[in-house]
Symmetry: C2
Subunit: 534 residues, 2 copies
C-alpha cells in the first residue's frame, strides 16, 4: 500500500573523492604500497554504500608517485573498490593536482557534466583541481575546519566533536544546501550496515549472561550497531527532541474540545520549560527545540534561557485549511514543511546530537494523523481514528466521518506528497522530513506516538527503508498508533497507556535505548570475567 | 491463598513521645496556646499511624507551663490526637522532666511495663526522665546527632541528609536493633498515606496536559505520593540495588545447564563491575551492593573500588539442601536470611537510598521461585515453572516434577516461614525481608523478575499490605512471574522479554518511576502557564 517515492530531481550524478586524508587516513610518506592498509574516515564506507545504492556514480582521484589504479583498488579493499566506477591516479594521467587532468579523466569516463558532479578532498590542491575542472567542491579535515572557522553556523550548538569528521554527514550537509535538505536526505537512506548487524549477536553471546536473556534490549543493540556501522555501537547521546507545532483547519469540524489558541500557549509553555516534554527530556538529558512550522495564532514573546529550549520560527503557513473541505495545504507547502523538518534534523546532528526524538504539538492533530494512517495503510477510518486527548462518542463519530471522507478524495493517487498535502498537517510533514534526514545522517530516530507514526508512514513512502533507523518509543493508546506499528513491523519499547504526544513516550524510552548500547560496550565477556558458560 | 502472618513476638507494647522538638517543631518561647500550629517532624504522622495500626499503645508527655492535655490535643489536631491513648503534661502532674512523674503516669494509664515501652525525645531532660522511669530511650534531632557523631555506622555511606530527621526511620532503626530487623519492619508496614494518595489525581489534573494522558505514569506518581506521604512526592533518588546471591541443592536434579560455581563467579563479576546489573544500575545512577546470603562455594578475593559495588558477606549457610528431598533449610536459617535482607534494606536507607531495587543471583534459583509461587498462589507447578536461563523440554519436565513434589509436601501449612524454609532459597528469603524493610522505611521498592516476585509473595504473607509500596519493574518471560503479578494485582512498568535477573528489569524501570515523580513537581499548571483548559 505504500506508494513509490517520487523520483527526486537530483542534479547530482557523480561524486569524485580524493583518497588519502579524505576517504582514508593519510599514509606516512614512504610507506610501501604493499603495506598500505586503508583506515577509513568515519562514515566513508556508509557514504559510498548509500550513494552507490542511490545510483550516483563514484570515482577516486589521487596523487601518488608510485600507484596505479589496481594498486589503489587493492589498498582500498574489495568492498569499497567495487563501489568505485573509476579510479585515476596521477601516475595514470601524468599530472598531479591542482592540474585538473585526473578529475577530468574521471568525469570523462563516467560521462558526467562537471556541474552535475561533486568533488571531496582535504587539500588546497584538491580544491584548486576542482575549481580548474569546474566541479563543485566540499572540504574535509583541516581544510574544512579552516574554511568554516570564521563563520560558525547560527542556531547550532558548538558541540560538533568528532562528528565533523564523518564523511557521510559532511557530504549530506553540502547536498542539503545544494539540493534542499529533504532531497539530499533521501539520497542517503538505505539499508543498515550488514557487517555490524551480524557482529551484534556474536558479541552479545560472549557477554556474561545467558544467551538472549536481555530480550528486546539485545534487538535494540543490534539495530543501533547497524545504524552506527559499528559493533559495539556508540551510546546514542546526546539526544535532541524537536517538537514541531502546527494548527489545523479541521478543528472547525469540532473534532477536539480544546481551542486552537492552546497550540500557541503550549509553544510558550515548552519555551518556558513547563510542559511534560521539558520535564521528561530534562530527566533523560535531552535538549528540546520547538519549531513553529504552522501555528495559526501569534506566538507570545519568549525569553530564551541559556541551555533551555530553543524556538525556531519556521512557519510555512498559519495552520492548514480544513481537510474536510479540500486539500489541507498545497504541495509546495507540504514540500516546504518537509524541508523544515529535514533541516531541523540536520541542524540537530550538526549541533552534536547522536539520537533524534520526535515531538509534536497541535490541537486537532490526531485527525490528520488518522487520515494519513488510513490512506497509507489502507485501513478504514473507523479502525484508525481514536479519542485523541479525550472526546465523547458523538465527537468521535464526527471525527471518523471527517477522516473517511477526506481519505476517499485521494482515490488511487497515494503518492506521499499528495497524501500529506491533501489530508495531513504541517507538523506531520515536518516530522516526516525530520525522520528521513535523521536516518540519512546515520543516527537513530526514536518516534513518539500516533502523530509521529503517521509521519513515519509518509517518511517510509518517501524514502523506503527509513524505518530501519527508527525505534518506536511506545505504544500510544490511539488505535491508529497500533495500526501504523503493525503496518511498519515495529515493536515499541514501552506500553504505558500514554496519549499526550510532545515526544513524551520517546523521551521515556530514551534511557532504555541507550542502555541497549551501554550493555554491549560495558559488560565483561565470559573469558575476561572467568565465568563458565553453560 | 496468602497465609496470615505469624504473630510477631514483639515486646514493644507502648511508645511515649516528647512533643515539642520530637513530634513537632519546637514552638518559639512565649507563643500563645491558641496560636500553636503543629509542624510535624517528617515521618511522625506515618509512624503514629502505623504503630497504632499494629496495636502499639501511644502516649505523649510534654513539659509546658500553661497547657493541659486538652490544649496539647487541640494543638496536635484531630488525626494525631486520636492515635494518642494518653497525653500527660507537666502541668497535669506538677513536675517537669527529668522528673519521671509524667512518663510514669503515662505508662500507668496504659498499664504497660517500662521494659516493654520506648520513649522518644530530643532533650537531655527527656533522656534523663526515661532513665529514671526505667524505659528505653531513643533520641532525635540535635541530641541524636550528638550521641551518634563519635561512632559513624560501618558499611554505610554518610549521605544521610535530612532522612536522619525522619521519625519513622529513627524509631525503625532502634526497633531493628531491639527486636531484629524483620520483626521491627513488620510493625511499620501498613496502608499508604490516604491524604497524599487523594491529592495526587487532583494535582495531576491541574498540570498542562489532557487529563489522564500520561497513563501509567500518573498511577505511579500517585503511588509514590502515598508511599512518601507527600504530594507532589519527592523524586525517589538516590537508588540502591541489592543483589542477594545464593546456591541451591536442587541443582543436583539437573534443573539448570549452568554449574554451581557460576554463582560465585558472577559475585566476583558483580564486584568487578562487569555484569549487566553493573551497567544498567550505573546508567540509572543506582549503587550496587552484593550480599552473599548463601553461596555454596568460596568467594574469590575482591578488590573494592571507591564508589564501586560493595560486597556484604552474610552467608547463612553454603547453599540450601536439595528441596526435592526435604526442606531446603531450617526455619532458623530462613529467619536468619530474612533478617539479612531486612538489615540490608535498612542499611541502604540509612546510607541515603530513597528507593530500593531488588537483585538476585543463584544458579538454579528459578526452581525454588516456581515452588514458592505455586505454594503461595495455589497454581499448579506446570503453570508457574519456566525455562529460566534456557532449558530444553526434558529438563523442563524434570523441573516441573520437582516443583510439584516439593509443594505437595507442604500440605495445608502454608505459613510464609514454613513455605520459604521448605521449598525456597536463601536469596528468596533475604529478598522477602528486604522488601518488607524497604516498605517499613517508607521508600518504594522496585522488584525485578520471577525471583523477586516469588519473594514478594512471601513478603506479602509475612506483612500484609507490603505490596502497596512495591512497583513491579517488568514482566519477565518466566510464566511464574506473570502468575505472581496477577495474584498480587501488579501492573509491571516494562515488558521487554527479559529473563536475566540480577535486578536488570528493575534498573531499567527506575528512570520511568523517577519520571513519574518529576512530572508532578516539574510541570506547570494551567493557571501558571496561561494555558486554556478544554
Amino acid at each position: 500500500m505504500i506508494a513509490s517515492p517520487a523520483s527526486p530531481a537530483a542534479p547530482l550524478e557523480a561524486v569524485i573523492f580524493d583518497v588519502g586524508g579524505t576517504l582514508v587516513d593519510q599514509a606516512p610518506a614512504g610507506t610501501a604500497v604493499a603495506d598500505l592498509k586503508a583506515g577509513f574516515r568515519p562514515g566513508a564506507r556508509r557514504l559510498l554504500r548509500l550513494l552507490s545504492a542511490a545510483g550516483v556514480r563514484l570515482g577516486a582521484v589521487t596523487d601518488t608517485s608510485v600507484m596505479r589504479e589496481a594498486d589503489v583498488r587493492a589498498a582500498l579493499g574489495d568492498e569499497v573498490s567495487a563501489r568505485l566506477d573509476v579510479v585515476v591516479t596521477s601516475v595514470d594521467v601524468g599530472a598531479a593536482k591542482p592540474d585538473p587532468a585526473g578529475v577530468g579523466r574521471a568525469l570523462a569516463v563516467l560521462g558526467v557534466d562537471p556541474a552535475n558532479a561533486l568533488m571531496v578532498g582535504d587539500q588546497p590542491a584538491d580544491q584548486a583541481a576542482a575549481a580548474a575542472a569546474g566541479i563543485p567542491f566540499v572540504a574535509v579535515g583541516a581544510l574544512r575546519r579552516a574554511s568554516t572557522s570564521t563563520s560558525p553556523p547560527t542556531e547550532v550548538d558548538d558541540r560538533t566533536s568528532s562528528r565533523e569528521e564523518h564523511l557521510d554527514v559532511i557530504v549530506l550537509d553540502h547536498l542539503a544546501a545544494r539540493l534542499g535538505p529533504l532531497i539530499a536526505s533521501r539520497l542517503l537512506v538505505g539499508p543498515l550496515d550488514s557487517a555490524a548487524l551480524a557482529d551484534a549477536p556474536a558479541l552479545q553471546a560472549r557477554l556474561t549472561k545467558p544467551p538472549g536473556s536481555l530480550g528486546r534490549l539485545e534487538q535494540l543493540g543490534a539495530q543501533l550497531a547497524g545504524i552506527a556501522g559499528a559493533c559495539p555501537p556508540p551510546v546514542p547521546e546526546p539526544a535532541a527532541v524537536t517538537v514541531f507545532a502546527g494548527d489545523h483547519g479541521v478543528l472547525a469540524q469540532g473534532v477536539s474540545p480544546w481551542p486552537q489558541e492552546v497550540t500557541a500557549q503550549m509553544v510558550a509553555n515548552f519555551c518556558a520549560g513547563g510542559a511534560a516534554i521539558n520535564v521528561l527530556a530534562g530527566a533523560a538529558g535531552a535538549s528540546v527545540t520547538v519549531v513553529d512550522v504552522g501555528v495559526a495564532t501569534p506566538l507570545l514573546p519568549v525569553a530564551a534561557t541559556a541551555g533551555g529550549p530553543t524556538l525556531l520560527e519556521r512557519r510555512v503557513r498559519p495552520g492548514t485549511a480544513d481537510l474536510s473541505e479540500g486539500p489541507a495545504m498545497t504541495r509546495a507547502d507540504a514540500e516546504a514543511a518537509l524541508d523544515v523538518g529535514a533541516a531541523a534534523a540536520l541542524a540537530a546532528v550538526a549541533g552534536g546530537a547522536r539520537v533524534l526524538l520526535t515531538g509534536d504539538m497541535g490541537i486537532g492533530n490526531t485527525t490528520p494523523a488518522a487520515a494519513l494512517i488510513s490512506a497509507l495503510t489502507g485501513l478504514p477510518a473507523s479502525e484508525v481514528t481514536g479519542r485523541g486527548t479525550g472526546i465523547d462518542d458523538p465527537t468521535l463519530a464526527r471525527k471518523v466521518a471527517v477522516v473517511d471522507a477526506a481519505v476517499a478524495r485521494l482515490s488511487s493517487d497515494r503518492s506521499p506528497l499528495r497524501v500529506v498535502a491533501e489530508v495531513g498537517g504541517l507538523e506531520h510533514a515536518a516530522l516526516a522530513g525530520y525522520i528521513v534526514a535523521g536516518a540519512a545522517a546515520g543516527v537513530p530516530v526514536i518516534v513518539d506516538g500516533v502523530i509521529a507514526l503517521s509521519a513515519l508512514l509518509v517518511a517510509e513512502a518517501l524514502a523506503p527503508g527509513v524505518t530501519a533507523s527508527v525505534i518506536a518509543g511506545h505504544r500510544s493508546v490511539e488505535p491508529g498508533a497500533s495500526a501504523a506499528l503493525a503496518h511498519l513491523g515495529l515493536d515499541p519499547v514501552l506500553d504505558l497507556g500514554l496519549r499526550l504526544g510532545e515526544g513524551s513516550g520517546a523521551a521515556l524510552a530514551l534511557p532504555i535505548v541507550q542502555a541497549a548500547a551501554r550493555i554491549m560496550s560495558g559488560m565483561a565477556t565470559f573469558d575476561a570475567a572467568g565465568v563458565k558458560e553453560a
